[in-house]
């Protein structure tokens, strides 16, 4: 039951170690940790974010650090409360998207044949149908709210993960340890959950992160269009209201700039974390890193050359 080397020592400790070793990943981790913390405890400090607390559209001041919205609410409070809802939906959808993608992808890849043909057709079709218009159409028919939003994002987002995970399953399926398990008479469910899925841990984590980036972006976009629950406080609805309350016309840049920056920071943080993972878990990039370290130690110049020699095992 030999598994690929880089997963044999997987465990929380190893992951943290790996993240800390990589500059990009640690930067990403710090950004995400900050926002998660903000989402968890921030709302406790800012009070009721929907309460009109001042004159509408006031620029940042000592009383309201980020000014007030077109409805006289505190922008900072809305930002902080929005962080909680947006991240919650983002991570939840990210997980579900990968879960659905994994169920379809792994089933297709493991069983092959007709099942594979049918499922592959399905996710390939969903991949070419443009997501945003489909999302808008579905969201338009359903009552607005977080559930609708989640459903819409899952429907339009799962296909990519299914495709990637199918390919990965297909390659794992051919490995010796799977064949051994099949010969040993283990059930398909057990082989999938015990043998195949664990080999894909790092890929799955990367997929969840990627799907979360997608979920947050798409969520903000749909809510900006007014397709979310506009009375909820989220990043997307904050931007929706900024636009609705003529932020540009009145020059109220403070009503939309902080939210946009936060969306970008979280997205960027997740991307950094993911690229860090990639460098950690992708054996080729790992070897390259070692090669560079070796060159530096030897006083050579880390140039454009790629360590082909070392790549051959």
């Amino acid at each position: 039951m030999k598994r690929p080397a880089f997963d044999s020592h997987s465990g929380t400790g190893a992951w943290i170690h790996a993240i800390r070793r990589d500059r990009k990943a640690s930067a990403g981790a710090i950004i995400i940790a900050f926002f998660v913390l903000l989402a968890l405890i921030g709302p406790l400090f800012v009070g009721d974010s929907t309460a009109p607390v001042g004159i509408p559209l006031q620029p940042p001041s000592a009383a309201h650090w980020l000014g007030t919205t077109g409805q006289g609410q505190d922008v900072l409070a809305q930002l902080v409360v929005g962080t909680r809802t947006s991240l919650a939906i983002g991570f939840a959808v990210g997980l579900v998207v990968v879960l659905v993608g994994a169920m379809v992808g792994v089933t297709a890849g493991y069983f092959g044949g007709r099942i594979d043909g049918l499922l592959s057709l399905l996710f390939n079709v969903f991949l070419v149908i443009p997501g945003l218009p489909l999302a808008i159409v579905i969201a338009a028919y359903l009552p607005s709210g977080p559930l609708t939003l989640g459903l819409v994002l899952v429907v339009t987002g799962w296909a990519w993960n299914a495709r990637v995970l199918r390919a990965q399953t297909l390659s794992q399926r051919k490995r010796d340890f799977v064949a051994a398990a099949v010969v040993a008479g283990e059930s398909s469910a057990r082989i999938v959950t015990r043998e195949i899925l664990p080999t894909m841990t790092s890929l799955l984590v990367a997929q969840v992160i990627g799907a979360t980036v997608y979920a947050i972006g798409a969520q903000v976009g749909l809510e900006f269009l007014g397709l979310g629950d506009v009375s909820a406080v989220t990043w997307g609805t904050n931007l929706y209201w900024a636009q609705n309350d003529s932020a540009l016309l009145t020059g109220a840049w403070w009503t939309f700039t902080p939210t946009g920056l936060c969306v970008a920071l979280v997205g960027f943080g997740l991307v950094l974390l993911n690229s860090g993972f990639d460098e950690i878990t992708n054996p080729r990039l790992q070897l390259e890193r070692a090669w560079r370290g070796y060159l530096e130690k030897e006083g050579g110049e880390p140039s454009s050359s790629t360590p082909v020699v070392m790549r051959r095992e």
Partner: protein, 327 residues
Amino acid sequence: MRYLLRRLGFYLVAAWVALTLNFFLPRLMPGDPATAIFARLRGRVSPEAMQALREAFGLTGEPLWRQYFTYLGSVLHGDFGMSVAYFPAPVTQVIATGFVWTIFLAGTSVVISFVLGTLLGVVSAWRRRGWIDTWLPSTLAFLGAFPYFWLAMVFLYVLGFTLGWFPLGHAYGDDLSPAWNGTFIADVARHAILPVTTVVLATLGGWLLSMRNTMIAVLGSDYVHLARARGIHPRRVMLRYAARNALLPNVTGFGMALGFVLGGSLLTEIVFSYPGQGYLLVQAVRSQDYPLMQGIFLVITLAVLAANWLVDIVYLWLDPRIRDASS
């Protein structure tokens, strides 16, 4: 050729799925589209007028399967029904007013972004850890993390509204009439700069990164080393050997990305009041103009499918292996 036909078959299946989704979605969901007609009137329509309208919109009590085939038939004939918001204009007429502009905006953006991103990716991979490779991918990834429409809002606010360098909206000046002359084309370009820049900035990073990463992989392959060892000029190695091969996955990605970019450009259109499908779609949603909404979705989907097929043709041309295998 067989390859292209097989792809065509696939796109036909995809189109059928989109059509079927389009048909069943409104019928599975709660609510009655006819109530939407009240929207503009704020309730001053008499019940008799409502009943007459209901019939005009084809909301009949036929069995579902029959409605389904009627629907498929009429779509095949290019009949998408009547718009509610623009009643009694047919959906196709409404869509036609802005379709060219959406294709123009999305097409220009995606091509510029793809070409520029790919080139930068090549440069970045070739000169690994040079300043381009160090700074550009991260910067672009950061820019790419911003919502499209947010970048658009900032551009519009700073460059359009505050500084007055660019027009605030529309695809060309209101006092010009469309014609193939310099003035008009320049005006169209002037109006397109901000929206196109927005989409390009937001998507450039993706092309750059994927090209860079495949390039790095290709640069590590034997034939590249062999070419280098044979003393072939480095630029030739980079372009003819490495880039051409690394391009293949990016071209596949191009097809996938079309739908994504189109979605983003719809959002951008809204911010810049660009007269394409984007605002039309949102307006259709807000006024519960279901026939129009579905028509737009369908047309966009078909356009993306068609573009994907074109990409397949390009792919075939680029990758001799498939060409040979299929002939």
